[in-house]
C-alpha cells in the first residue's frame, strides 16, 4: 500500500491527546494554592468548590481520588435526546456538537464513570444516546457519499474531529481516484489535439521519430 500518498492526519490516540486540553469542571476534595504549570495556572482549589481545569489534569486528580468530575452540560440526557431528534429530523445537516464530543465522552466514561450518578445522570443512558447520535450522523455521511460521482467538494459542516478522522483516509482516497479519472480524460483530449496539430504540420512525414542520441 502506498504511504503518505494521502494527506496525513492524526491518529485517534493523538486526537484524544488534543481533546485532553479541553477544560472541564471538577469538584476537588482538597484545598491548595494555584498550580503554576508550563501551559498555565490552575486553581486555587478549595474543597467542595468547583474549579475549571484541562481534562488531563482532571483525570490525573480523579485517578488519585482527589476530585469528582462534573459531566459537561451538553452530556445531559435531555440535551442529547434533543440533539438526537434533530439529527434524525434533518437528513442533510449535522447538529452542532463540541468538536471533540466523541473523545470527551470517551474520556469521561473511562476516567469518571462513577461520577455521573452524583450529578443525577444515568451513565448507561448517556452512553447509549451518544452512540446513537454517532451512528445517525454516520449514516448521513454515508448517504452523502453515495452521491459522489466526481472529484467534487462535499460539505461537512459541523462534522467533528473524530468523525473526520474516521472518514479522512477513505474520503480523500476516493476523491483522489475520481480526480485521476478526470485528469485521464483531460490528458486524452489534450493529447488528441496536440497530435492532430502535429499531424497537420508534417503530414509528409510518415513517422515521428525522436532522436535517440
Amino acid at each position: 500500500m502506498r504511504e503518505g500518498g494521502v494527506a496525513s492526519s492524526l491518529t485517534n490516540e493523538e486526537l484524544q491527546y488534543c481533546a485532553e486540553n479541553e477544560t472541564i469542571t471538577i469538584i476537588p476534595n482538597f484545598s491548595t494554592a494555584s498550580l503554576h504549570l508550563v501551559n498555565g495556572e490552575y486553581g486555587p482549589f478549595r474543597a467542595q468548590n468547583e474549579a475549571t481545569v484541562p481534562f488531563w489534569l482532571a483525570s490525573l486528580l480523579r485517578k488519585r481520588n482527589l476530585c469528582r468530575v462534573k459531566p459537561p452540560e451538553w452530556m445531559k440526557s435531555e440535551a442529547l435526546i434533543a440533539v438526537l431528534a434533530e439529527e434524525k429530523r434533518s437528513p442533510n445537516e449535522w447538529q452542532e456538537l463540541p468538536h471533540h464530543y466523541i473523545e470527551v465522552a470517551k474520556l469521561m466514561f473511562t476516567a469518571a464513570e462513577e461520577d455521573f450518578a452524583e450529578f443525577d445522570m444515568d451513565v448507561h443512558e448517556i452512553r447509549r444516546l451518544i452512540d446513537d447520535i454517532r451512528l445517525v450522523r454516520f449514516d448521513k455521511i454515508e448517504k452523502q457519499f453515495k452521491q459522489v460521482t466526481s472529484a467534487m467538494t462535499i460539505r461537512l459542516t459541523n462534522f467533528c474531529a473524530m468523525e473526520l478522522n474516521l472518514m479522512r483516509n477513505f474520503l480523500l482516497s476516493s476523491l483522489d481516484e475520481y480526480y485521476k479519472f478526470s485528469t485521464a480524460e483531460e490528458s486524452g483530449d489534450v493529447q488528441q489535439q496536440r497530435q492532430t496539430q502535429e499531424m497537420d504540420e508534417d503530414e509528409s512525414q510518415d513517422f515521428q521519430v525522436r532522436q535517440l542520441r
Binding site: 494521502v6 492526519s9 491518529t11 493523538e14 484524544q16 513517422f207 535517440l212
Partner: protein, 232 residues
C-alpha cells in the same frame, strides 16, 4: 503470446511486492490517520502483518539482477550494431521505418529494464528505512539478505541518524505515542540482563518479570519487541 522483454525484472518486482505485502509493517507511524492503530496495527485486509522480523525483507536477488543488467547490455549492443550496420551502408536509420522501429524497441526495452530495477532497489530501501523507524534496527538475519551496497546504505543511514540525533539532543525513534503516564508497566519478553534507567536506577530485566520503567526507554524496548506493555 506476448514478448519476453523485461520479463525477469518484472517478476523480480512482482515477487518483492508480494513478499512485502505479506509481511506488512502495519500502518505508517504517526500518520495515515486512523489507519494506524497503536496496538501494532492490523495489517492489511489481505496482506499479513510481519511476524518474523527475519522476513522483513527477502534476499537480494543477485542472480536475477545480473540477468537484467545483461539484458540491458544485450539491448544496447543490438542497438549499436544496428546503428553501425546502417551507417556503414550510408542509410539514415530515421528514414527507414523497419530500422527505426527496431532501434526504438531496443531502446525502450532497455529503459524499461532500468526503471524496473530502479523501482526494485527503491522499494527495498524504502522498506529498510521504514523498518528502522517502526521496529528499530534490522535483525542480523535480515542484514544478511542485503546486497553489499545496501549494507553500506544501512550503515550510513544509521550514522546519519545518530549524528543528527546527537546534534539535536533527542531520540527521534521514540515518542510516537502521546504521553499518558511517566512510567509504563511492562513485562519482559526477552532476557535483557541488568539495565540502567533514569529515576529508578538499575533494573534486572529477566523474562517474565514485571517492571515500572520510564516511558521513553520502555517505549523503545517495547517497539523492538523485547518488552510487553501491560495496560493499567
Amino acid at each position: 503470446m506476448a514478448t519476453d522483454f523485461a520479463r525477469t525484472a518484472t517478476n523480480l518486482l512482482k515477487e518483492l511486492k508480494t513478499h512485502l505485502e505479506a509481511n506488512d509493517l502495519g500502518g505508517s507511524l504517526g500518520s495515515v490517520g486512523g489507519g494506524s492503530g497503536y496496538s501494532g496495527g492490523d495489517g492489511g485486509v489481505l496482506g499479513g502483518l510481519l511476524r518474523d522480523p527475519g522476513q522483513a525483507l527477502p534476499q537480494f536477488k543477485e542472480e536475477e539482477v545480473r540477468r537484467c543488467l545483461q539484458e540491458v547490455a544485450e539491448h544496447y549492443e543490438s542497438l549499436v550494431s544496428i546503428l553501425d550496420a546502417f551507417r556503414d551502408q550510408g542509410v539514415a536509420w530515421e528514414g527507414r521505418p523497419e530500422v527505426a522501429s527496431s532501434v526504438l524497441i531496443h531502446h525502450q526495452a532497455l529503459l524499461r529494464n532500468k526503471r524496473l530495477l530502479m523501482a526494485y532497489q527503491n522499494m527495498r530501501l524504502e522498506r529498510v528505512k521504514a523498518f528502522r523507524w517502526k521496529c528499530g534496527r534490522l535483525p542480523r538475519s535480515t542484514q544478511e539478505k542485503l546486497s553489499s551496497p545496501e549494507k553500506d546504505f544501512v550503515k550510513r543511514y544509521e550514522k546519519m541518524l545518530a549524528k543528527y540525533q546527537k546534534q539535536a539532543g533527542v531520540d527521534l525513534t521514540v515518542g510516537f505515542y502521546p504521553p499518558s503516564e511517566n512510567m509504563l508497566k511492562v513485562r519482559v519478553v526477552e532476557d535483557l540482563g541488568t539495565m540502567e534507567f533514569d529515576y529508578i536506577g538499575e533494573a534486572d530485566l529477566q523474562v517474565g518479570t514485571v517492571h515500572l520503567l520510564p516511558h521513553e526507554d520502555a517505549e523503545r524496548l517495547i517497539i523492538e519487541g523485547k518488552l510487553e506493555h501491560l495496560a493499567n
